[in-house]
Amino acid sequence: MEIKREPLTDLRVRQLKARDMLRGNLPDEDLERYVEERVLTTTVDRAVAWAQGNSLYPLTFGLACCAMEQIHIVAARVDIARFGFEAFRASPRQADLIILSGRVSIKMAPVIRRIWDQMLEPKWAISMGACCSSMGVFNNYALVPADKFMPIAVHVPGCPPRPEALMHGILKLRDKIQGNAPDGWRERYDADGTEEVLPNGDAQASADISIFKAGDTAGA
């Protein structure tokens, strides 16, 4: 069911096309393509995205103090079951969301990378807490920020973040999955140019990271 879908250019062109289509003076093959792009694709993609977004199966994965707050989102007050995410799966084969709750040490980094590889697509990762996103309070030899070795979808700030903050992070991930991602703070405050350029350029460092050399293991 390979669906050919050329990118729609800008808004104005789409509006004019829609008006022609409504007035019926869109040429045949244009009409054909127009309908094909509109009707068929959006429903399949949106339906799949809607299903995935609303039924994330998180992995029972806790590292350190943030795991305590992660447990709290399952408890009674900030109940994750309201959004349908309460089925915590223990095995990476059945989970599609890994919440890195805690500090990632250089001994744990390859383990997390392996669990991430063993999770089945589509899969997302939330890096919860300051230690995971940016080595937080412990900027030292023993820690690795998570996005050095894993593609992270949502960073939840806080040390540890409140359960409601993690809940907000998961809901923001749901919006991201369903296509209408809320724009980040850079777009909202048009602060482009402040992107942190990593020393080795690409944000997703490859899986083979040289984490075991002494002394300069900083930043892995």
Binding site: M135, N140, Y141, L143, G215, A218, G219
Partner: protein, 169 residues
């Protein structure tokens, strides 16, 4: 806590048994410390155990960086009947960082000794499983030593962007 005089008595007893087993005694803020000769550490601990200090509360390493001999191994002993605490300190230098293990006397010292080896590089002779416990198995260097860099990434501010860009602290 044993007060200063009792500390001196204990030190004197140890010296009678073996002249150079106790090098020095320190008494500061109610804490009695016996500075023992690293080669005689087992005899000192055995003697203290005889006196009633049967519980080895803690065993940890300290790096006295500027003054030699640099690496210190501290044993916090506890006498549970009289609720007394006394500490024994053994100082070893970095190039000859070896000391006898006390795991057969205090089985609870197994993990702490491995941690002191892992963090400071003090090898405990006679330890059943002398391997690193906290760092990855093949990690070179002993992180807790004072000359080991704290590591971590330099926080990139606009003012130090150029000089600290890509370098590691």
């Amino acid at each position: 806590m044993p007060d200063a005089t009792e500390l001196e008595l204990t030190a004197q007893e140890l010296r009678d048994a073996d002249s150079e087993s106790v090098l020095d005694t320190e008494f500061y803020r109610g804490r009695a410390v016996l500075v023992a000769n690293p080669t005689k550490i087992r005899a000192v601990l055995e003697h203290l155990r005889g006196k009633g200090y049967t519980f080895l509360a803690s065993l940890h390493g300290v790096d006295y960086y500027p003054d030699e001999p640099r690496l210190g191994v501290l044993y916090e002993m506890l006498d549970r009947t009289r609720v007394d605490r006394i500490a024994v300190k053994a100082r070893v230098s970095t190039d000859h960082a070896r000391i006898e293990s006390v795991v057969d006397m205090f089985p609870g010292a197994n993990f702490p000794e491995r941690e002191v080896y892992d963090m400071f590089g003090v090898v405990f002779d006679g330890h059943p499983d002398m391997r690193r416990i906290l760092m990855p198995e093949d990690y070179e260097g002993h992180p807790q030593r004072r000359d080991f860099p704290v590591g971590g990434e330099p926080v990139l501010f606009t003012y130090n962007e150029e000089q600290s860009y890509g370098k590691y602290v």
